[in-house]
């Protein structure tokens, strides 16, 4: 994929985000009353418009460079298999972080952590070495619980469905 195409896509996506942002800001935040009262709306609105301008510039620059600087570097094209792998890793890491937060609140730190670690080890790292998995899960959970929860007195969530600790 030529980097110019990437820039054009990035620019267009950012432009769309910036415009949606600006409209939302304009519609939902009350404006200032003038006379030195800048108000809560001015800054986010200005930033949205600046981003729109910059991303539009990015799109134009990629069009302009096409005719004037034909060398415009290429970025490596990954094989479809690698792209799919990367996508699955990104998705599973992000989903597991969010699930970790959700579980922490529902079943508490002590149960959520080994579940997270085991899932990551098996689903993302494809580990089938039970000794590594078990020692990672137990070690991280107990280590953090002892050091942060007990020794340093940090508040670790106890869970609303089941509560341990």
């Amino acid at each position: 994929m030529p980097s110019l195409v990437r820039d054009r896509v990035t620019g267009l996506v950012l432009l769309a985000i910036a415009l949606v942002w600006s409209v939302l800001v304009y519609k939902t935040i009350p404006p200032g009353q003038g006379d030195g009262d800048v108000g809560a709306r001015a800054f986010p609105l200005l930033l949205g418009l600046i981003l729109a301008g910059l991303s539009a510039a990015m799109v134009f620059a990629s069009l302009w460079r096409k005719s004037h600087a034909p060398d415009g570097g290429r970025i490596e094209i990954k094989p479809a298999l690698e792209r799919r792998l990367e996508f699955s890793i990104v998705a599973s890491v992000v989903v597991s972080i969010i699930a970790y937060g959700y579980l922490m609140q529902k079943i508490g730190f002590l149960l959520a952590t080994p579940i997270l670690v085991t899932t990551l080890m098996m689903a993302v790292l494809k580990s089938r070495n039970w000794i590594t998995i078990a020692s990672m899960a137990a070690g991280l959970t107990l280590g953090c619980w002892l050091i942060f929860g007990k020794l340093l007195g940090a508040y670790l969530p106890r869970g609303t469905w089941i509560s341990l600790g």
């Binding site: 030195g36 149960l111 508040y155 341990l164």
Partner: protein, 322 residues
């Protein structure tokens, strides 16, 4: 024995489930059976007093009270957390007038009625400070200067709709110069320095922020807004003494979600009373600059309701109400 066989059958995880399931079932007679979580809504002084209170209450109960900070949204985040928990007394909130300001500002869908009051613990009184070289010795001096000046008086507050803003509005209204004032919102704690820097003419903040500067003679505290003088600044007259008829104090106290059983509330209430009466709490109040002011559950409920009414009106007048 039966339990034991079941445990072995169900496996370790299920056993834990069962065990904790049993443990968290409400058994009011023995409240508390597990630590009580006290949600703290703000950092700074609120957090410090909350931590001390939690410590002292723990000494009077069979289980500790744990202060957990849940800040943000002008208190709305913490209130919402506690309001959504089961009304069993294990989740209480270290509340303040912010329950009214957050609601009327439109940041919280429920109001004070979503909570059962436990006890009022302390009060803090806003104070009006000016620069010593302004030459004002009383509110009257300031009013006179404001009326004769062609520029508006700039008054530092913590933020629009903050308690210091409401207090300022009430005070300057009572002084009859509400139209001669511009409120300048600063982040927390910066207003005294801005006053020293000469960029504002007066600031309504908490006494603790003025004490050192007042002793050093660079700032002067003209009034406190309560009906009576306060211990940390006994020489400073009240606004009422100077003819501005206001009585505004901010309280802090404890509340539990609505529907918490009366006997549980009573247990927490008595633990709170013992904590407030303790020497350690009294000593801390002098250092931090607040007034211990225990008030029982029912009186506290009446106070919250009447204050809510006042705050609602005041915010309506200021156009801050949603």
């Amino acid at each position: 024995m039966l339990k034991l066989t079941r445990r072995t059958l169900c496996g370790a995880a299920a056993a834990l489930l069962l065990y904790t399931g049993l443990a968290s079932a409400p058994a009011r007679a023995d409240f508390p059976e597990k630590p009580v979580e006290m949600t703290v809504l703000f950092g700074g002084t609120a957090n410090a007093i909350g931590q001390i209170l939690a410590d002292l209450m723990s000494k009077n109960m069979s289980q500790p009270v744990v202060a957990v900070s849940r800040t943000g949204g002008g208190g709305a985040v913490g209130y919402s957390h506690v309001q959504a928990t089961a009304p069993d007394g294990y989740n209480i909130v270290w509340n303040s007038n912010s329950v009214s300001t957050a609601h009327h500002k439109g940041n919280m869908p429920f109001n004070y009625e979503a909570f059962t009051p436990i006890a009022r613990i302390s009060t803090e009184v806003p104070a009006l400070g000016v620069r010593a070289d302004a030459g004002w010795n009383s509110l009257a001096d300031m009013v006179k200067a404001a009326k004769s000046a062609d520029k508006k008086l700039k008054v530092g507050i913590s933020g629009k709709g903050a308690f210091t803003h409401l207090t300022s509005a009430a005070l300057f209204d009572a002084l009859g110069i509400a139209d001669k004032v511009v409120y300048v919102p600063y982040g927390k704690g910066k207003a005294p320095a801005e006053l020293l820097g000469g960029r504002i003419d007066a600031a309504i903040q908490w006494p603790g922020q003025f004490v050192s500067h007042a002793k050093a003679g660079t700032l002067k505290v003209l009034a406190v807004t309560s009906a009576e003088r306060i211990a940390i600044m006994p020489d400073v007259p009240t606004a009422k003494e100077q003819g501005a008829d206001i009585d505004i104090t901010m309280w802090r106290g404890l509340a539990a979600p609505k529907g918490t059983p009366a006997d549980v509330v009573a247990k927490l209430e008595s633990a709170a009373k013992m904590a407030v009466d303790s020497d350690a709490f009294q000593a801390a109040s002098k250092k931090i600059g607040f007034t211990p002011a225990y008030m029982g559950s029912s009186d506290f409920g009446t106070l919250i309701a009447s204050d809510d009414d006042r705050i609602s009106k005041l915010m309506g007048e200021l156009g801050l109400k949603k």
